[in-house]
Symmetry: C2
Amino acid sequence: MTAQRRRPGRRPGAVDTRGEILAAARKVFAEKGFDKATVRGIAREAGVDPALVHHYFDTKEGMFAAAMQLPITPEQVIPLLLEGPREEIGERLVGMLLRVTAEPEMREPMVALLRSAMTNEQAATMFREFILHALLYQVADRLGVPHLRVEAAFAQMFGVIMGRYVLKLEPLASASIEELVELLAPTIQRYFYG
Amino acid sequence: MTAQRRRPGRRPGAVDTRGEILAAARKVFAEKGFDKATVRGIAREAGVDPALVHHYFDTKEGMFAAAMQLPITPEQVIPLLLEGPREEIGERLVGMLLRVTAEPEMREPMVALLRSAMTNEQAATMFREFILHALLYQVADRLGVPHLRVEAAFAQMFGVIMGRYVLKLEPLASASIEELVELLAPTIQRYFYG
């Protein structure tokens, strides 16, 4: 579930080009934020041709996800939301987010990113721009839902995931996914199509 | 809106007893967590009689709020929730939380506490125990609402306040309180009495 298009076998003696691109991407995203960073700028920082960056990463979003070690990219999430009946979107979204974040290796990179966003203004800008432009506005615009309503849904699920895994509030932390879907899906459904 | 019962005028030359009790409280809460800390233990740490601690602070919750510089205590919040019609509790709760957190001097101590809870396991335990036992379980038990439902409501409002003031997501960050009450109150109302 990583973001690269293909993972070429590491050639013996070859430099780790993908790793160098990701290191350059982390630096450029941190300095410029998500919006102002460009594939061209990241290629320049890594000292490679932009075509080589495109060889490893389809999109800036995918590169960001790989650089931050995020387990899933918006391009993977959005189609899952869009397929299936519109009246079940709340259920699909809550179920998917709870299943993905149940895995520590999926969840921890996101918590790490949030932790830096809470303590560092540059990281906060980068996180905000990514969340908004690569995720929330995309979902909102493709579904025709006002941005504020998608952000209310994000806030609900963000709070649940924080309460469950970071603050470890009981009984939220040990509730089953099914129980939480039943409780939370109507909220998300109302924000999207209420 | 601070938590002390009375604020005696600082006598010239007198030591800052209240300040010393709060310093001791911060130390004991951090070491023992909220649940295991006692007024007696805090008095011992401060080198004063427990009666003197009670002179400044009615309750352990009030002392915690003062020690962490929280602007409001659960004892102040809970009666506001309980008074007024039950079918307007969502509106009352959302309105109150948004009005309180609109003031930076009210919000910042809470964000600071959360920041430490996210990066330090001891601070996380202290924050969790306070949130649960002094706030969420109290509200749940007095209203007869299951704990999980009160935590879902907490998660919604926690996410909104984080999204609005820490992540600064637009349009959430600049939406009016009225608009947010209209959007969010039905969610909270459903969790409490849905």
